[in-house]
Symmetry: C2
Subunit: 210 residues, 2 copies
DNA sequence: ATAAAAGTTAACTATATGGTCAAGACCTAG
DNA sequence: CTAGGTCTTGACCATATAGTTAACTTTTAT
């Protein structure tokens, strides 16, 4: 009880502050990059004095790590799992649906992750990379089995995953460009559904599932 | 003659130095981002003293602008043109072929461009954005005509272009991740052909052209 | 041959920034 | 009420870095 309360009270302000800082930091990292985002700019955006930021995170790198980790975790949770029972059609539908929704809901996460990869994944821990390799290979194997069973066309499963990945992520990462091209200020709710429908249709057909 | 020689000689060293600097700068900008890339690091990579860099480019921003402009120009030249006579199949084939080859040949360009867009295209001149909108809309209209003529399935042409764009670009931008997943150190020549074949097959089929 | 132009570079400066510190405010438990 | 912890924050410092300058060398034009 006592311990509980301590966590509830003392922990709360810590969590809350850290959360507020991470939100602000995400924006700054997207806008300015890791080096370009200054602790001061993060502080300003979070509405806190700089020293307070450094009180909750030992240094800028730690903020970035926290943000990255949070991103990975969100990705991991958001991307529902695919099972052999799903069959190829449902699997692709689930996968596209989840990724597109995530792209539209958390574009900053996608952007930060993309920048990290583009720059060579210098801050990404080895285990994260290995984890992803395992994930992709596992899913690819599922697709391969469906192919072997004649449940879908014989397409390279690894590249199929890349295709889904890239085409869905694009709406987050290239938001600016896409909005410019569509001559719009913001995405709207219908866009999500439209994109899901479009991509699902195209890719299912590519796999001979339509 | 005199004038010619002057351009040939004097211009040469200028062009050569600028080129060398831009190559080095590209790498640094990809690796460290705009703010993270220091003039010194660019100088070191180019094998020149810092002051020499600043002699050829007034400041860091100018180096970045030159690199960006070069990238845009290359993209513009590399992406062959599509004409109404091509018909949808050849158009898609040409487009994918050109973009994939560019991704594998000049990944840094693709990366710099991607980072610029992700960060909100803060350095991109308005005319470049407008130009791209025009380009995409123009091509989309072509596809729309083919659709109206019953030459291909009725898919959203703008999103079709996004799909081709994203899936091809991905191999440049996410190089690091893709190599990790494929457990490889580098791309090989066959990869280009394989990717072209895979994407062309998938997307043509998606458009009902196969 | 020579003067002007172009190129090279070490040394310097001003500033921005990451991070520290210490003093004090504010909780919380007993 | 008070002692120990947590939180807050202005002031400070060391360093990294963009950009300048000025002296010097090399190239080019005539």
């Amino acid at each position: 009880m006592k311990n509980n309360k301590e966590i509830k009270k003392t922990g709360n302000i810590r969590i809350q502050s850290q959360h507020k800082i991470m939100i602000a930091a995400s924006t700054e990292f997207v806008l300015q990059g890791f080096k370009g985002a200054t602790v001061q700019s993060i502080a300003d955006r979070a509405g806190l004095p700089k020293a307070n930021i450094l009180y909750y995170f030992k240094n800028k790198e730690n903020i970035y790590h926290a943000v990255l980790e949070h991103t990975l975790q969100m990705w991991d949770e958001g991307i529902g799992d695919i099972t052999p029972e799903d069959g190829p059609k449902a699997a692709i539908e689930k996968f596209i649906d989840a990724k597109v929704r995530m792209s539209f809901k958390h574009p900053e996460s996608s952007k930060i992750y993309a920048m990290e990869i583009i720059q060579g994944a210098q801050h990404l821990k080895d285990f994260a990379r290995t984890y992803q390799r395992k994930w992709v290979r596992e899913k690819a194997q599922l697709f391969q089995q469906w192919i072997d069973n004649g449940e879908m066309r014989d397409v390279d499963p690894i590249h199929l995953i890349f295709l889904i990945w890239s085409s869905t992520q694009h709406y987050a990462d290239f938001e600016t460009q896409i909005l410019t091209i569509m001559n719009r200020a913001d995405y709207e709710d219908e866009d999500v559904e439209h994109v899901i429908a479009f991509l699902t249709d195209m890719i299912l057909r590519g796999c001979g599932l339509n």
